[in-house]
Structure formats: structure tokens, C-alpha cells
Amino acid sequence: MFFIAGIILFLVLAAILIYNNLVGARNSVENAFGTIDVMLKKRYDLLPNLVEVAKRYMKHEQEIFTNLASLRAQATSAVTTDQKVHVENQISGLMRNLMVSVENYPDLKASDQFTMLQRSWNETEEQISAARRAFNAAVTSYNNAVDKFPSNLFANMFGFKRKEVFEIPEAERQNLSAKALFNS
């Protein structure tokens, strides 16, 4: 009798632990996603300042500025994660082009204000990349909990679904490429 009661107690405790672990993993994913949003917000705030200074010197890149402005508007109104990621990747791509074009404007390159903004931009880009990597790590740990035995039994029972990791664009993987912009 006590033996059976012991087994039942053990199973109940194990179930509570496993369930709490799943909830904890899901919350870490949400928390990590929130951090990406914070970092992206930092970038949105920085973008207009950077564009404003660059515009004063760069006469032939008006198209990039117009596109950036419209993408920023899209980014703030994007609803789904997919939309957000798509817009973010486009902004990163355009900014990379812009930073390469800076080479043609020595006055802009020499401007202290622009250099500081450019440094802040690099910093934010790396922070976003770090936040994405943290998100991916949280998702991997959550997915492991959802897929591995015995927690997968509870995951199915309580509707915990696998989550997708962020695809990091190839260009961003080479996160030190920004160095090249300064080494001229």
C-alpha cells in the first residue's frame, strides 16, 4: 500500500517538476524575444539621427534614405514575427550598403558626430545579434524539453509546441566585417 502511494507521490512530483521546467523554458524564450525587441527599439531610435547626419553629406544616396525611412515605418507597424524579421534584415542590408558608400565621402568620414553614431550603430548591431543568439539558445533548450522523453509526453498533453529559431543572414555571421569600414 505504502509502496504504491510512494510511487504515485514520486510520479506526481516528477510531473510537477517536468511541467514547471517546460513553463520555465517557454518563459525564457519569451523573455529572450523581449530582449531582441528592446535592442531593435534602440536601433530605431538611432537610425533617424544617423540618416540625418549622413544626408547632409551624401548627395547621391537619396534612394537609400527613402527606402530606410519607409522600412523604419514598416518595422514599427509590423505585426508578425516573420514580417519583423524580414524588415529588420532589409534594414541591416541597406545600412551595410550605406556604410560602404561612406567611403566616397571623406568629409562625412571625418565628422566626429558621424563616427560616434557609426560606432553606436555597430554596437547596436552586435547587441541585436547577441540577443538573437540568446533567443536561439533559449529556443533550443525549450525545443529539447519539448522533444525529449519523458517531458515530451507532458508537452503533448499541455500543448507545448516546438518554436522556430532565428535564421541569421550570412552577411551578419561575419560580424567583424564592419572593421573593414574603418580600416581605410
Binding site: 530582449t35 554596437e123 533559449a138
Partner: protein
């Protein structure tokens, strides 16, 4: 970044003369020691012949020890001044043979959780490598274990402790330690690492090779990844291969601290009975200084593309 490009020619042109001179002084000391020892020994034998006990022999050995130590200490100072200082200054850095990385900095690095009850250090090197301020010294720290008759001291760390200004701003604490338990126990080891109450959160990074060699703890998951970019992880792995010994790192207060384990006394003169004009020995010491200077380049600390200048 290296100032001395060809060590062999540097040795011949810049060091050789000083070493030969030092060796002359050493030979003089040795002659003096041998002469006094011979006289002492003759007197002892005479006393023994006259029926004295072994006491004069014991006194002779003690006197020999004190005499040797006295001369070695002075010679060691000369060696550090003439050879090590020259090596360090030729790399554009400054040298203090007596000072070391302070205990407060060692403890602030949080690489070692044990409290050091004995703290020894010397040979402090400091200066700028490009835009990066660096400091390093030899350290030997020990902790007391047991009590009463069983009291003994165990080494916590012995080797070179290196501190440099880091090129990114951060506020938290990130510690990179050699991975022992995961290598031994696999995923169970990793589980145990997560339970370590002495450390902040465990950070699982995506670089498999890096994860195999190191375990990372940090107060902030995102900041740890901001510091340990994919490029820096590879650079740390490369550094570990180059120094070919155990390394542990911490990123605290906008500085990077690196503990490089080397289990021998560095930057010291050889004993008085062997020549100081020893290319291999000086080359080895130079190698350690160069290794520390090269860390700046290897970890790319002079790249200042972030807001920290």
C-alpha cells in the same frame, strides 16, 4: 605590434654583452663561494682530526646556505634589471621586478572562487599595446586546507595573470573557465555546471568547439553573447592552442582578465653554478612576454569600432 621581430639577432646585438658581463660577475661569486667553502672544509676536517664533533660541519653547511642565498639574491636583482627589464622595455612596456597584479584585482576578476590565504607575485609588466592598456605579472596563490597538524597549502593558481582594457562596454560579469566536468561526464556534467551556486547563470553557446573547451557563466545571457561574439570565441580557442596550457578568462568592469597556468617560476636568474649566457632560457622568458603582448592582437582588442574608444 611586436617590437622585436628577430629574437636571435636581438639576443646577439642587444643582450649578449650584458649577459657576458653578468656571467663574469657570477663566476667571481662562484670562485668566492668555492674558496670560502674549501677553507671552511679544511678547518672542519682539522677540527675533526683534533677530536671535535660533527657540529662544525653542520655550521659550515648553514653558513654555505646563507652565503649562497645572500649572493644569489643580489645577483637575481641584477639579472632582472639587466636582462628582463631590457626584454620588456624593448617591447615598449615598463617593468617592475617587485610589484605584481594586486590581490584586489585578482579577486575582482572572479576567475577563482577560493579565497587565497597566501598570495605571492612579482615581475609586473605594464603599458600600452596599440590603443590597449595591458598589465600582467607572475602570480602564485594558495589556499589553506585542513587545520592543526593536517594544515597544508594547496595551489589555486600559478602562472601569468593578465589584465587588459576590453574594447566593448559592458556592465555585467562573464566568466570563461576550462570545461572539466562536461568533458568527463558529458551532458550530466553540463547539468551539474548549471547547478553551480558559486557562479552566475550558465551560458550555452553555439560554437561546439568552444563549448567543448570552456564553460561560460554570466550575469546576463545577452551581454555574454555580445562580448563573446562568434569571432571572439574562435580567437580564444586559437589563443588556448597558442599558449598550449590551461587558460581561464573573465570580462568584468570593461576589462578582460586572463589566468594562464604555468607551473614554474618565471623571469628568474638561473642558479649561480650555471651560465646566464643561455640563449634558450632568455628566449623562453621573451616568449612569455611576447605571448602576453600578442594577446592584444589575438583577441583583436585594438579594434575600436564600438562606442568605447
Amino acid at each position: 605590434m611586436r617590437k622585436i621581430q628577430n629574437f636571435q639577432s636581438f639576443y646577439e646585438t642587444d643582450l649578449r654583452l650584458a649577459l657576458i658581463q653578468l656571467d663574469g660577475e657570477r663566476e667571481q661569486i662562484v670562485r668566492k663561494i668555492l674558496m670560502y667553502s674549501a677553507i671552511g672544509l679544511a678547518v672542519c676536517l682539522l677540527l675533526l682530526f683534533l677530536g671535535a664533533s660533527l657540529l662544525p660541519f653542520i655550521l659550515l653547511v648553514v653558513a654555505f646556505g646563507l652565503f649562497y642565498y645572500h649572493h644569489y639574491r643580489k645577483f637575481r636583482e641584477r639579472y632582472k634589471h639587466e636582462v628582463i627589464r631590457h626584454l620588456v622595455e624593448s617591447e615598449g612596456l615598463t617593468y617592475d621586478p617587485v610589484q605584481s597584479i594586486p590581490k584586489s584585482d585578482y579577486q575582482r576578476s572572479k576567475i577563482f572562487t577560493q579565497h587565497p590565504s597566501r598570495y605571492y607575485g612579482d615581475d609586473l609588466v605594464s603599458g600600452l599595446v596599440g590603443k590597449t592598456a595591458i598589465r600582467f605579472s607572475e602570480l602564485h596563490t594558495q589556499q589553506q586546507v585542513g587545520s592543526g597538524k593536517n594544515k597544508r597549502y594547496e595551489t589555486i593558481f600559478r602562472g601569468i595573470f593578465f589584465i587588459a582594457d576590453f574594447n566593448k562596454k559592458f556592465v555585467g560579469e562573464t566568466i570563461v573557465l576550462p570545461d572539466v566536468s562536461e568533458n568527463l561526464l558529458g551532458s550530466f556534467g553540463s547539468f551539474l555546471q548549471g547547478l553551480n551556486v558559486m557562479r552566475p547563470q550558465l551560458v550555452k553557446l553555439e560554437d561546439v568547439e568552444f563549448e567543448k573547451e570552456f564553460v561560460v557563466y554570466s550575469t546576463d545571457q545577452v551581454e555574454a553573447r555580445y562580448i563573446l561574439s562568434t569571432a571572439l570565441m574562435q580567437r580564444i580557442l586559437q589563443l588556448k592552442r597558442n599558449v598550449n596550457t590551461g587558460i581561464a578568462l573573465s570580462f568584468i568592469d570593461s576589462h578582460v582578465c586572463i589566468a594562464i597556468t604555468i607551473r614554474k617560476n618565471l623571469f628568474e636568474a638561473p642558479h649561480l653554478f650555471s651560465s646566464v649566457d643561455n640563449y634558450n632560457q632568455v628566449a623562453e622568458y621573451h616568449g612569455y612576454i611576447q605571448m602576453c603582448v600578442d594577446i592584444v592582437e589575438q583577441l583583436d582588442l585594438n579594434t575600436r569600432i564600438w562606442t568605447k574608444e
